[in-house]
């Protein structure tokens, strides 16, 4: 049986802050807006325990901020669907097509705000320990290690913030980073430094995961001294970088060498009527505020694009 076809003014792919902001602006312009999210509405920040640098909020949990923006967008008529997965897109068709498991959506304007995905630990044995010591979500799984030894690998804000969060559970916490310094906010680093139960292992790489049936230790390598050691740990939380979610668009949109969509401050991609917003596009700074800014620009320019199409006919 053929799928039902539905027409939308704007389809937004991705429900992080960029996508949600686009939905809010587009909704307020009385456009029919559909936002499709395959994983978690809120994207990267839904796991953020305490956001302290978003203007207007001294401190707010990531999921609460996301919930607020989503409710704002929905109050203006935007529809957020986090259960109907996209299976194919055709941005060269007129109108453009976004096919999901349940529907074929046709639209003249698309905003790609598909964000980033956590990079996985590149060790051949890692799958064996998934959920049995190796984790990617401190909010979800930190509780399993009350009073235990926890290791965190990574050197950016995600790793340091996760380490600070996990201190509420850990008897002892190690942060493992291959470089000699963190690339994280100083205030977060200070919190970590001042915690006596936390120990940082710089210039350190993980070479092997060991233990049966669950993770019990890590084989470590110090890339400055060449020393190899074994670290006993009950858990390893992984924050080693992000990859852009652009596989679906690689034959349609121009991507840079990192896989990000080439688009400037006007969020315009190489296809008229297709915009890229948030971390997924090429840009020097990636923050919540810049994601919200992109979402705004993309929605406003998408609306102008739709107007230009009407004027042509």
């Amino acid at each position: 049986m053929a799928k039902e076809e539905r027409k939308k003014d704007i389809i937004i792919i991705g429900g992080g802050v960029a996508g949600l902001t686009s939905a809010l602006y587009a909704g307020r312009m009385n456009l029919s807006v559909l936002l499709l999210e395959a994983e978690l509405v809120g994207g990267q920040i839904v796991n953020a325990y305490s956001i302290e640098n978003y203007p207007g909020f001294a401190s707010i949990q990531g999921d609460k901020l996301v919930e607020t923006i989503q409710q704002q967008a929905e109050s203006f008529g935007a529809v957020v669907d986090e259960f109907d997965k996209i299976i194919a897109v055709d941005f060269k068709a007129k109108p453009k097509i976004v096919e999901t498991e349940n529907f074929v959506y046709k639209t003249d304007a698309v905003i790609v705000a598909s964000g980033m995905t956590r990079r996985k630990l590149a060790l051949k044995e890692v799958d064996r320990y998934l959920g049995k010591g190796v984790h990617y979500c401190e909010l979800c799984d930190g509780h399993m290690y009350q009073g235990k030894t926890i290791a965190v690998v990574g050197g950016g804000n995600a790793a340091v913030d996760a380490a600070n969060f996990l201190m509420k559970y850990a008897k002892k916490l190690y942060v493992i980073h291959r470089d000699g310094a963190f690339n994280a906010d100083e205030i977060s680093q200070k919190r970590l430094r001042e915690n006596p139960a936390a120990e940082v292992l710089f210039y350190t790489e993980i070479k092997e995961l060991k233990g049966h049936p669950a993770l019990a230790s890590l084989l470590l390598y110090n890339n400055k001294t060449g020393e190899a050691t074994e670290l006993r740990t009950d858990a390893l939380f992984v924050y080693i970088g992000l990859l852009p979610n652009t596989a679906m668009f690689k034959d349609l949109l121009k991507l840079d060498e990192t896989g990000r969509i080439v688009a400037g401050e006007d969020c315009q991609t190489n296809i008229p009527g297709v915009f890229a917003a948030g971390d997924v596009r090429t840009k020097p700074i990636r923050q919540l505020t810049t994601a919200a800014a992109d979402g705004t620009v993309a929605a406003l320019l998408a609306e102008k694009y739709l107007q230009s199409l009407k004027e042509e006919t």
Binding site: Q61, E82, K85, E101, K132, C137, L139, C140, H143
Partner: protein, 79 residues
């Protein structure tokens, strides 16, 4: 009765519950951080404390948000 074993602030737990609500399925939510009995039961069902766990009979269960498996467990029409 559908049972969901979860913890607060777990985004995948929220997604499972939203999915049940969107499909008008009644469920009971068990917070395994606050409820020791629920924690023990969660471990008995799955051998682990990773959440969310969704179950009906306490034997077969679905870990996390796995839409095809949830649809099969709940008897929802496949999309």
């Amino acid at each position: 009765m559908v049972k969901v074993y979860s913890i607060p602030n777990c985004p995948w737990c929220h997604k499972v519950k939203k999915y049940l609500e969107a499909n008008h399925i009644e469920y009971t939510d068990f917070d395994i951080e606050a409820d020791e009995t629920a924690r023990t039961e969660c471990y008995r069902i799955s051998g682990d404390l990773t959440v969310p766990i969704t179950t009906i009979d306490g034997k077969s269960y679905v870990l996390s948000f796995d839409k095809p498996k949830l649809d099969a467990l709940l008897g929802l029409q496949a999309s």
